[in-house]
Each structure stands twice: as C-alpha cells, then as structure tokens.
C-alpha cells in the first residue's frame, strides 16, 4: 500500500534527497551546541575548587525531590504549577523530539522500547503533554505581557527588561508543539482522505484540533504542510538547543547538575579555599572573591542556572526595604560579566577586572544579612550566602571595610566584644539574676555539667542582660547544673566570619574553644541563635550544643519545670522565627512548643511569613553597626506583619531580633500597642516557683 504522504526521509527538494538536509541540520545543530558548551565550560575549569563530589545518596535525593518532583515550585502557586506542567511536558516530549529528528533520515524509526502497547500509550501521553505545555505557554505569555508580575521587573540600574527573551522562548516552545502536531495531523488527515487506517489522535489534543481543521485540505496541501512542519520542527529544535546556553534558559540544561551539586547543609560557611586547612590560611596569597575566576565552579554553575524567576529577590528582606541588593541580579550580573569575559566568538579577555566597583558595589555586598530566605526559595538550588561571604573576604583583604564596621572589628580583636567593653564586665549581668539562683564561674575554677554560652550582646547590652538573667533563672528552675566562662568568653565570631574577617574569627574561635574545653562540660546551652549556629556549625570538637528552647521543652515534658497560666488570653502572641534558629537550623517547632506549654496562651501565626519564610528583623552581630542605605527598616516591615496577624506581643528567641524589633516598634509608632519579648523572658515570667 502506498503511504498517504511522502515521509521526510523519502522526500526530495529540487531533485536533492531531503535526507541530506535532515542529516545536515542535526549535524550542524549538535556541532554548534558542542562548541558553545565548550566555551561555557571554560571558566568553570579556571574557577576555584569546590568539593562537591561527595555524599552521593543525599545528592540523588536532592535531585529527585527538588529537580524531578519540583518540590519548591508550588511555593509560588500559579507560576509553580505552570512550570511543573512545562517541566513534565518537556520530559515527556524529549523522546518524541529525538524520534522526530531521526525520522528525517531513518524512515519509520521508532525509539527502542517505544513499539507496541507502550508506544500507543506514549503517543497519547505525549499528545496530552504537548497540549498542556502549549496551554501553559500561552498562559505564561499572557501573564508576562498583560499581568506583569512585579518580581520580573528589571530596575533601570540593572539593565533592560527581560520580557522579550521570555516571549521568544515561549514562542519557540509553541512553534515546536504546533509543528509536531501539524506533522501528525496532516498525515492522519491524508490517511483518512485516502481511506487508509488512520493513526488515532487523542481527542482535544492539538493534533486532534489540527486534523479536524485540515479535514477538507487537498493531498498536495497536506503533503506541503507535512514536510514544512517537519522542517520547521527540526530547525526550531536545534535553534532552541543552541539558544539555551545564551541566557536564563540555560537552566533547562544545567538545572539537574546544579541541584545535584547544591548546598546540602544550612548555616555553615564555605572554607576560604576548599582543600586548604584552617591552619594553613596564612599561606594563601589572596582571600575571597575579587575577580570572576575567584568564584568556585559551583558558584559559576549557579550563575548559568539562574532562571530569572525573581523568587529570591521577592523574599529578600534587603531588597524589600530597598537596600541596594537584589540576589537575582547578583547572579544575572555575574552571568553577563562571564559572557563578556568568555565571549562565544573571539578571544577570552586576558585580565579579569575587580568585581567590586565594576559589577557589584560595596554597599550591595554589605547589605546582605545572610538570613537565607533567597536560598530557601530558589527552585534550582542556587546559593548566595557563601558568595556574599567570599566577596566580603575579598573586600576585607583589600581593606574595603566601611568605617562603621572597622571600630567594632577592632574592638573585637582587642577586647573580644564589638563595643570594646572591658572583659571583666562580661559577667556584670549576674548581679541581677536574683536570689535562689547561683551562676557558677568556670574562670574561678568552679565545675558544672552545662556551660551557658552567653555571647557578647546578651552579656553587655543593658536590655539583653535581662535575657541572660531570665535564661539563668530558667536553667536554675529546671535544675540544670551550669556555669559561664566569664571573662574567658569571647564573642562567638558568628558575624565576624560572615562579614569576611576570617582570621579574626579564627582567633576568637581558638580562644573560645580553649576556654570551653578547659571547662570540661557535658553540653553547651545558649539562648542566642547566632552563638548556637557558630558553635554548632563553625566550631568543631565541642560538647553538644542546645538552644534554650530545647532545654525548656525537655524540662516541661519531664515535669521539672511547671508553667503557670498566662494572661487569660487577653493578649495575642506571635512567634518570630529568628533566621539562625529557623532556616539555618530547622528549629521551628521547639520554640513554639515552649510557648504553647504556657497554659491558656493565645498564639497567632504570621501566615505566609513564618517558619522557613520568616522575614529577617534586620540582622544580627556586626549588622547592628552597619549603616545601610534603605527606605525603611526590616524590623518595621516585620512588626507590621505581626500587627496584621492580630498580635499584640511578638515573641522572639534571639537577642538581635529583640533589639531590632523593639526599635522597630518605636519607629513604626506602635509603642504601647505592640511589645516584643524574648522567649526566655516569657517563660521566666510563667515559672511556677
């Protein structure tokens, strides 16, 4: 039986067998793509090392969850669902596209395993998938053009709008789907017209629509459409492939790798240079990231992988209060810079310029509070905190540190606290603990099972000393045998490290480690999440570290601590998740359980802005000294969120949050109507004594 239409592999144009063209298109396409990829890989080979060829089971799990299951996408519901449709559509259609390309030179080709029943099932599945992707692409284009979600905006200082690229790609996707469907539909229509058994097109798919549309067409027209659709599909497919590495759609290729190699831990900071031990840091000629090649290869892969979705910046507190930082553009500016340094055609630029002063500004890099909201959100596993820290290390090494930070750094070096207060005054707060609770001092040679690590702000700040006193009273009430290091305690150095002053951090760490080891305790307890995170993630070889909320919940459960009823529900409380307790250490439930242990307390959630979507109060440690350019304080935004949740009292579990939120209440003019309290203070008030 004569086929209803001449197939692409058997066709000829002007006497030339079309097979030649259909072999040539993939050959050129793959050749160009290989060349582009070789250029794109070049900077990665010159980059700083990054040890990511480790922990394969966890990495595979990350790929299955975050890449394949698109875990983070529904956090932005509409865009997320549309992306999931497109993603699975692409995965499904990949086999069909491969088959189509080969059909150009192997007549009747079908992929191994795609014959028989599975072939029929797949054929229907890919038709529905293609139709769903087409529908999604149309909705996405309308959304881009008509509704213009704010997070896609490109502020003038960051360059041109990215909409044309997005629309071009959506156009390419639609072209692929329409041409693929027309290729099928024209054949089916011709088969039907010739009275041959026609291939079945599932109802309501693109192909099905086109077949009905083409029902009356002549065989010649159908033949023309059949071959034209094939050729357009072939050309578009390879154009699209080569276009991907030009911009934000590179993620179609890189995402699986980027997720595989993504950061698996939270709260930690990368070493100055992978493979260089902390004791050998002095031997390094340069610290941190100064030029593009100082980034690690994974950080470069991050730049390639950014899909420009704007979720990071949408959740970034610095961006929200109009500090000069938008994480999305940290990636996009670096990618643009990379494409300039390593152009597709022409020579690689010999000398890489300093990044600060060319693509990034000093204030931009100091604006980050390292809260981690961006990393929590990124559907592609792009990281920012380590880049910020590395860029800061580079600035510190070059002496580029704002005057507002130089004073506290110098004081930390000399006195072990950012205010330059006397070491012996570190224990002044103990005088206010009150009777019936004695705080032991390891510096005086006393012994205890537990070390309460107070850290600088809680030791020295008048207001925060009340938190230290409350913490001590809780420990006493819970029957914990504890002591403090006193003048031997130095600042944990948590922000010193995150502000890029690695050597000062190392010094503080050594001093604290020595003092802690000398105290010979079984565990460490702290009420400061920054100290908690430092001791847990930045230090090593210490006894186990617990946050006070863990001690409270434990003591309540075991009956050692009994809490009295609250204020009969006259006030509504809300809990603010500190970044370094929540996002960086996943301690979301313990503080809530501690609060809920107070009988009759009424607690509301800042829905949408709590737990891993908590909004940073403004930053801790050295960030208290930094004077950022901003339109309003992060704390004020946060306090308004609490107000909207119907709260009268914001409970936090971090001294820096308390400073920022108490200030913000005043700035927002809510004094008297809203108050802030530390978790320890709240529990202390309700201890049954």
């Amino acid at each position: 039986m004569q086929p209803a239409l001449v197939s692409p592999a058997s066709a000829s144009f002007l006497g030339i067998p079309a097979v030649f063209i259909y072999i040539l298109i993939p050959l050129i396409g793959i050749g160009v793509f290989a060349y582009i990829m070789r250029r794109r890989i070049e900077p990665l080979l010159k980059a700083a090392p990054d040890h990511r060829f480790t922990r394969y089971p966890e990495r595979v799990r990350a790929v299955l969850k975050i890449w394949l299951a698109q875990w983070r996408h529904p956090r932005y519901l509409l865009a997320g669902i549309l992306h999931i449709v497109v993603f699975f559509g692409f995965l499904t259609l990949a086999a069909r596209s491969t088959q189509l390309v080969i059909l150009g030179f192997v007549d009747g080709f079908s992929l191994p395993g795609f014959g028989g029943a599975f072939g029929h099932f797949y054929s229907a599945a890919k038709d529905y998938a293609g139709t769903a992707v087409f529908g999604s692409a149309v909705i996405l284009a309308v959304r881009r053009l008509a509704f213009k979600p704010a997070r896609y905006d490109v502020p003038e200082r960051y360059g041109k709008d990215h909409t044309p690229e997005a629309i071009l790609v959506l156009g390419l996707i639609c072209t692929l789907l329409v041409s693929e469907s027309l290729f099928d539909a024209s054949l089916v229509a011709a088969q039907a017209a010739a009275g041959q058994p026609a291939h079945w097109l599932p109802p309501l798919t693109l192909g099905w629509f086109f077949r009905h549309l083409l029902a009356g067409a002549s065989t010649a027209a159908l033949q023309g459409i059949h071959l034209a659709a094939y050729t357009i599909h072939d050309l578009t497919f390879f154009f699209f492939l080569c276009f991907l590495p030009m911009g934000k759609h590179f993620h179609v290729i890189t995402s699986i790798f980027n997720v595989f190699f993504m950061r698996l831990d939270h709260g930690n900071v990368k070493p100055v240079r992978h493979g260089v031990d902390e004791s050998k840091l002095d031997e390094l000629k340069s610290f941190g990231v100064k030029t593009f090649e100082d980034f690690t290869w994974k950080h470069m892969l991050d730049f390639y992988s950014c899909a420009d979705c704007g979720r990071c910046s949408d959740r970034c507190p610095a961006n929200r209060v109009k500090r000069p930082l938008s994480p999305r553009f940290i990636s996009i500016k670096a990618r643009d810079c990379c494409f300039k340094l390593y152009p597709l055609w022409g020579r690689t630029q010999e000398e890489s310029k300093a990044l600060i002063g060319s693509i990034y500004s000093e204030d931009e890099i100091w604006s980050c509070t390292t809260c981690g909201a961006c990393e929590q959100e990124c559907p592609l596993g792009i990281e920012y905190i380590d880049k910020m820290v590395d860029l800061r290390r580079g600035m510190v090494d070059e002496g580029m540190v704002p005057q507002s930070l130089q004073k506290p750094l110098s004081a930390l070096e000399k006195r072990g606290n950012p205010w330059g207060k006397l070491e012996k005054k570190r224990v002044d707060w103990i005088a206010g603990v009150g009777e019936g609770c004695r705080v032991k001092l390891f510096e005086k040679g006393e012994a205890a099972e537990t070390l309460y690590f107070v850290d600088s702000i809680t030791s020295y700040d008048d207001r925060m000393q009340k938190v230290a006193q409350a913490t001590a009273r809780i420990l006493c009430a819970a029957g914990v045998d504890f002591g403090v290091l006193g003048k031997d305690e130095k600042d944990s150095g948590h922000e010193v490290r995150r502000f890029g002053e690695e050597m000062l951090f190392q010094t503080l760490k050594e001093q604290n480690t020595e003092a802690i080891k000398a105290a010979e305790v079984k565990r460490i307890v702290t009420a400061d999440p920054h100290a908690y995170n430092a001791l847990e993630k930045d230090y090593s070889g210490l006894p186990p570290v617990q946050h006070i909320s863990e001690v409270i919940v434990d003591a309540v459960r075991s009956g050692r601590l009994t809490l009295t009823p609250g204020d009969n529900g006259s006030k509504t409380y809300t809990y603010h998740d500190p970044c370094y307790l929540g996002r960086h250490n996943a301690l979301y439930d313990l503080p809530r359980q501690a609060i809920d242990a107070i009988p009759g307390i009424r607690r509301a959630e800042m829905t949408g802005d709590c737990r891993d979507r908590s909004f940073c109060c403004g930053g801790g440690g050295l960030m208290l000294f930094y004077e950022p350019e901003e339109e309003q304080r992060m704390g004020v935004v946060r306090v308004k969120m609490a107000q909207e949740a119907g709260a009268d009292v914001i409970i936090t579990a971090c001294p820096f949050c308390l400073v920022n939120i108490e200030d913000a209440i005043k700035v927002a003019g809510l004094e008297g109507r809203m108050e802030a309290i530390d978790l320890c203070e709240l529990i202390d008030r309700h201890i049954q004594r």
Partner: protein
Amino acid sequence: MEILVCVKRVPDSAENEIEVKGDGSDIKRDDLVYSVNEWDNYAVEEAIQIVDRSGGSVTVVTIGSEDSEEVVRREMAMGANNGLMLVDPAFEGSDGRGIAAILKAAVQKGTYDLVLCGAQADDGAAQVGGMLAALLDWPYASLVNKIEVQDGKKIKIGREIEGGNQEINEIELPCVLSIQTGINEPRYVGIRGIRKVASVEIPVLNAAALGVDAAAVGKAGARVKRLDYFVPQAGAGAEMLQGSTDEIAAKLIDLLKAKGGLK
C-alpha cells in the same frame, strides 16, 4: 614623593574605660588596650593614596618604647613602605618641643618632601606638627582635609575652618601638614595584613644615632611640666534630665520651647 608620617600609640578611648590615678600623675594603665592615634591613621591613609597616585614611598615613624612596634606594623600593613622607631629611655617624659626635636632629627636623616602628622592625639596637645615645622623652618598647615599634588615643588591643600568653611592654600615643598579626620576613609587592616608584615625589619634609632642631645629632650629637657591630672567635677551649671528616654525627650522639648529654642 617621599613622605614621612608621624604616628603615636595611644589608649583608644572607645575601647577603654579611662580612670585617673589617685595621685593625679597619670591614668591607670593596667587594663588598657592601645591603638594607633585616629588622626595619624588618616594621615597614613592619605600618604598611601598620594604615593598610589604620584609615586614615591611612605615611611611611618613613632617615638616610644618597644610596644610601639605594633602600631608601626599596623600602618605598614595598610601599605606604608617603611617603618622607623625612635626609642631611647632619654626620650621619656618629653614635652611637645622635645618630641618635635626628636622628630626633626629623624626628618633630617632622610630626604622627605612631605611630613604628615595627625592634627592631634587622643592624649596629646596638638602641638607637635607646628613645632616640628618651626624647628625645620619648613612651611606648615594645620587641620588639612584635602591634599592635591601639583608638581614636585608645590601642593594644594584644603583646610577646615571653624563653622564648616573651607580654605584652599598653595604650599611649598618640603612642608609639614597636620591632618584632620575625615580627609579620607582609612582602609581596614586585619590580623592577616599584620601577619604579612610581621617579619619586615623595622630600624630602631636611639638618641645617639639620631644625634639628639639627650639632655635637651625627655623629662630633663621638658619646659612644660604636668602638675595634675583629674576628672573635673560636674559643674553646677548643668541640669541633668532624669527619667525614661521619652520623659527626657519631653522635658527637653519643654525646656527648648521655654527658652525660645523651638517655636
């Protein structure tokens, strides 16, 4: 341009709680931490920037004990090319003129086009720069907050005048300038920077090596002698407002309104 910057190691008032000894001879020094005098740090930064723009070298000099080495190293970590320490027991207790005389000898040991001092020291009297210029018979400008190098013979300098006014002068080289804070933004020096210059040799000169008459400087040669040192009693003219921040603010507003300061 060859630049000499005079620096001093002082107890940092921001990182110490300064207490005066009972006998009024000095402050209590047991629990002090020291740093480079803030004004001097600006002077070093300015010198480094001048050399970055127009070539030459920066030498940092200090008078004091072996302890002063830390501040010289810190300034060398900033980018000063050379250090110089003037150490002699005979220098102890010098008055301003004595310090200027010792520095004069150091200046004459080298070939400097420009000598920079801080406008004053945390624990000083803002006199050394002027005296040094006079002893050298060089031109002098004080409270300089802007330096523009023109040619090898002259520079243009800006001076801060009371009330926020600015004056621009031309001054012949060699000269002495005392530097005001705010002239630049001094770069940060961390532990890493200091370790990098930890093994650089710093020459130490004593009175003999400098050719300074030991009797003319130090305690013996001082013609200004400190008689007493104390914290003045709070005057009766001051009214301390009491209460919470809000109450204090409210009282202050009332007072200002009452005296016509606020309309």
